[in-house]
């Protein structure tokens, strides 16, 4: 057992820290609004130019070939200095691992560098109005067009995060309506500027236009936009989904930074001297929240030790997903209780504490137990596939 980093890893940390401290933008508006998104893309391009946008990718695609440990270090540093949530995440953290695993060389060259550079911005199209948790119930169809060598899509996706601002969507489409539920689906990459695509933004709980509905009306995509095999999309999609549940999307750095800010908030509130009894009564909650973030960090170190040796998390990634999503709610909830009457003030309110970030964070955290497979579904997975309980 050794919980120290090597000198090379520490040097990597120092380099990342120095650059991030000098460059991370402060006070960017939410990336889930049109103006905010544009500013975030500018920031993403700057990250890319300094080769910090995709540290773990091979150099030929714009990365640094960083190890998993270095990636974790980068994430720690990124969030420690207050780096903003990555609007490129659905591409970089979810689609890219799938392209690395299933993509052709041509697809890798075509998509990965532009993704790293934030030239292409990707959103994910799984959910449909009648298919949420039951993803295999999707109905959007892609019909074979032999003449043009591709597929013609009809149907609708929904809850597509930042769909109104992105230029590509990846998702599952039914290509063999006769096949059994989990077969007959294909993973397609679809340009949102293709003829026949209509995108309509939908306002989320927090007031941002973070959701979109995407309508497909005889949209043609050529064969080179199939990722993995035709009718094999379910298996390919499961690879993407496990990245979303596991540590790539939600590295501990983000939660540990938030936990440290919560401790700092408690100290500021205590120093301000208002409502001393309430502040005092929340000491244990602050400690518990901080420890949960720390426990997540420690569990990640165990998982990464395994991953480095080639032991995958498998269905245990469902435990990870439940844990980070619930701890995020707890952290923000505790902060709001510290704020008391100021808790309800949002960013546009002059007296909002920390620019209303805690209410914003709380609202966002509440979606964690819903997206990436609801926590009820994850508990089913844990019971059946980690503990071996009978499905029926």
């Amino acid at each position: 057992m050794d919980l120290t980093f090597t000198p090379a890893e520490e040097a990597f940390r120092a380099e990342a820290r120095e650059w991030l401290e000098a460059n991370v933008p402060v006070g960017l508006p939410s990336g889930d609004t049109a103006e905010g998104f544009a500013l975030h893309v500018e920031w993403e391009k700057k990250l890319f130019e300094a080769r910090w946008s995709v540290v773990s990718w091979p150099e030929e695609f714009g990365g640094r070939g960083a190890s998993l440990w270095e990636w974790l270090i980068f994430e720690e540093e990124y969030y420690r200095v207050g780096g903003p949530q990555r609007v490129t995440q659905n591409g970089i953290f979810l689609l890219a691992p799938t392209i690395f695993e299933f993509g052709t060389d041509e697809q890798k060259e075509r998509f990965l560098p532009r993704m790293a550079a934030a030239d292409d911005l990707w959103c994910q199209g799984w959910s449909e109005p009648d298919a949420g948790s039951d993803l295999a119930g999707i109905k959007s169809r892609a019909a074979r067009d032999d003449e043009r060598g591709g597929w013609v899509i009809n149907g609708q996706k929904t809850w597509t995060t930042r769909g109104a601002f992105c230029n590509w969507v990846f998702g599952l489409f039914r290509t063999d309506p006769e096949a059994a539920r989990h077969s007959g689906m294909t993973y397609l990459l679809v340009p949102l500027d293709a003829p026949g695509v209509t995108v309509r933004g939908v306002e989320r709980l927090d007031g941002d236009e973070g959701f979109a509905e995407v309508f497909f009306d005889d949209v043609f995509v050529s064969d080179d936009l199939v990722l993995g095999g035709v009718n094999e999309g379910w298996g390919v999609a499961m690879a993407t989904a496990s990245s979303e549940r596991g540590l790539t999307l939600r590295s501990p750095g983000r939660f540990c930074a938030a936990a440290d800010r919560l401790v700092d908030l408690w100290k500021r509130q205590a120093a301000a001297g208002e409502y001393p009894e309430r502040i005092d009564s929340l000491r244990s909650d602050v400690a518990q929240s901080w420890m949960e973030a720390e426990a997540y960090r420690l569990a990640t170190l165990v998982d990464v030790t395994g991953l480095v040796k080639g032991v995958s998390q498998g269905a245990r990634s469902s435990l990870t997903k439940i844990y980070w999503s619930e701890l995020d709610v707890k952290l923000n909830e505790t902060a709001l209780r510290l704020l008391g009457p100021a808790a309800e003030l949002i960013e546009t309110s002059p007296d909002a504490v920390d620019g209303g970030a805690w209410m914003k964070g709380f609202e966002f955290a509440l979606s964690g137990p819903i997206y990436a497979g609801t926590n009820e579904i994850q508990r089913n997975v844990v019971a059946e596939r980690v503990l071996g309980l009978p499905r029926k």
């Binding site: 919980l3 000491r283 400690a287 165990v302 990464v304 030790t305 245990r316 019971a383």
Partner: protein, 339 residues
């Protein structure tokens, strides 16, 4: 970075686990409940023979000279099998305390006996009202303010207390300084006591992980087997979610317990916080797991004929000894917020 045990550590763990499987099956735990003494000397002797009892004693005194990380998997197995003898007190707490803090004469007097199994040691720090296993101990290490004493067991007057866990043997005690040898005093004694407390808490946390894992395993086996409405009750979603919650709790307590052992073994500057987090999480996890285990067993789990209650009661007892979750959470809060 390598947050895992070595092959050697895992091999040793497997050997000890096999030993407990043979020598400490549930019938043996039941015997510990029913028997007046409740401890058999042969199991302790065999563990000493294997090197478990002398694990933390320096090689110069006949021990293995190993540390908290090596000990952790062993304690987890002891928890899994609900082994009732005082491993925490003797191996995790007293042997390292004497090694680090006792004058040579005292160390030489007791450590070789601990290593060869002839000396069973127990401990009482300030704020710990009861002592474990005084009835079989040869040596008591006790704190009085800023002094730590070694007292041969024959000079300790003890009154049995009765734990909900019938395999435990708890005592209130009295002793006179005239019969005691001073181990260490002043600031050094306070530090030694604090370190001893951390070691006891971390070791108990390791046992709680094993207890919790075993309660989950027993419950999984039961709900797969037990049928109602014509199907295994483990196919019902409410049952599944209870068990998923239990697994979640243990899964995120376990790395915290490992980190505490690592912190102790490496003299981490944050060791108090690391240990308190470990005990807090392990206690909380065990309490949740025990509830879920009982609920999923239904009435059979509510009997003393079924074995589950041994694990439930051990986990209740250990969850609140060496500081309960609330106490350790307050300690973490103090370390984080008042710095």
């Amino acid at each position: 970075m390598q947050f895992a045990f070595t092959e050697d550590q895992l091999l040793f763990r497997d050997t000890v686990a096999e030993f407990f499987a043979n020598e400490c099956p549930p019938e043996k735990v039941r015997w510990s409940w029913d028997d007046a003494v409740g401890r058999d000397a042969s199991t302790w002797a065999a563990l000493a023979e294997m090197g478990v009892i002398g694990l933390t004693v320096p090689e110069a005194f006949g021990g293995m000279g190993m540390n908290e990380i090596d000990l952790l998997p062993i304690l987890t197995e002891a928890g899994r099998y609900a082994y009732p003898a005082p491993l925490v007190e003797t191996v995790a707490v007293v042997a390292p305390l004497l090694t680090e803090s006792a004058p040579a004469a005292i160390a030489e007097k007791w450590l070789p006996g601990i290593a060869d199994g002839s000396v069973i040691a127990t401990v009482q720090l300030d704020d710990q009202p009861f002592v474990n296993d005084m009835h079989i101990a040869n040596l008591l290490i006790a704190q009085r303010g800023d002094q730590l004493f070694a007292i041969p067991a024959e000079h300790v007057r003890s009154t049995p207390q009765v734990s909900v866990d019938g395999a435990r043997r708890l005592f209130s005690i009295e002793w006179d300084e005239a019969d005691a040898e001073l181990v260490v005093s002043g600031e050094a004694a306070l530090q030694a006591a604090n370190r001893a407390f951390d070691r006891g808490a971390a070791a108990t946390a390791a046992q709680l992980i094993g207890l919790s894992e075993q309660m989950i395993a027993m419950t999984v086996a039961y709900v797969v087997d037990r049928k109602q409405f014509g199907v295994p009750i483990g196919s019902f979603q409410a049952v599944k979610h209870h068990l998923a919650d239990a697994e979640l709790k243990v899964s995120f307590a376990r790395p915290a317990v490992w980190a505490a052992a690592y912190g102790l073994a490496n003299g981490s500057a944050d060791v108090d916080r690391e240990v308190s987090m470990a005990k807090c999480f392990a206690s909380d996890a065990a309490e949740v797991v025990a509830r879920k285990a009982l609920q999923n067993h239904g009435a059979i789990g509510y009997t003393t004929e079924h074995d589950l209650h041994f694990w439930l009661k051990r986990s209740w007892a250990l969850a609140s000894s060496w500081g309960d979750a609330a106490w350790h959470r307050r300690r973490v809060a103090h370390l984080l917020l008042d710095a």
